[in-house]
């Protein structure tokens, strides 16, 4: 009942976005730590290819380190990039929550009118 492609894709997105928020928090807390490389997660490309090839959209993302140029102390965290990414991730997370909620809402209204 709940195993359709949409629900699984949304859940994968929620997991990926939640991890991304954590990675951003880690990056910002290490804004000035010498030698620190910013973390990144990419789940979108895995999700995209799973959806277009018809395989299961239950994907986990790949966590990697950013290859951006570092400053003098070896740190490559860019506060502007992280801030924008933080805001965007928060909004996308809320949107995915909303979409998941709506999926359940559809089921419930179908049940109520039965």
């Amino acid at each position: 009942m709940f195993d359709d492609v949409t629900s699984l894709a949304l859940h994968s997105a929620l997991n990926g976005l939640s991890t991304r928020q954590q990675i951003i928090a880690n990056n910002i807390s290490n804004l000035d730590t010498p030698g620190f490389r910013a973390g990144r997660i990419d789940f979108e490309s895995q999700l995209q290819s799973a959806l277009s090839s018809g395989s299961s959209p239950a994907v986990t993302g790949t966590v990697s380190q950013s290859l951006d140029a570092t400053g003098l102390n070896g740190n490559n965290v860019n506060l502007d990039t992280e801030t924008l990414s933080n805001v965007e991730t928060g909004l996308r997370y809320q949107l995915a929550i909303r979409a998941t909620d709506d999926q359940f809402g559809l089921l419930r209204s179908a049940l109520r009118s039965a």
Binding site: M1, H11, S56, F104
Partner: protein, 106 residues
Amino acid sequence: MSIGPIAMPIMPTVPAASTLSSTGTAGASAAGSTEGFSNALSGGLDNLQQLQSTADTLAVQAATGNLTNVHDYMIAATKASVATDLTVAVRNKAVEAFNEILRMQV
């Protein structure tokens, strides 16, 4: 006189549970999504026990602070709630139909 079995009014056919994946693996569900709403509903009935127990497990994790993702619990709880609504709706319809039949003059 013999009384035949009651046909469920909202589901004309109830496929066997084994035709549906009840563990929620997406491989079956990608095909399952083409099998129609009636299959989805009956799958929901079979799953109720498992959905409730998943929601309970995650609730305990939430209580002890070991839950990795908040949305996991919220989704599991909502699934269990919708599945319960479904079971109740089916039961109510069945009871209604039964009473309907009792009232019939023979």
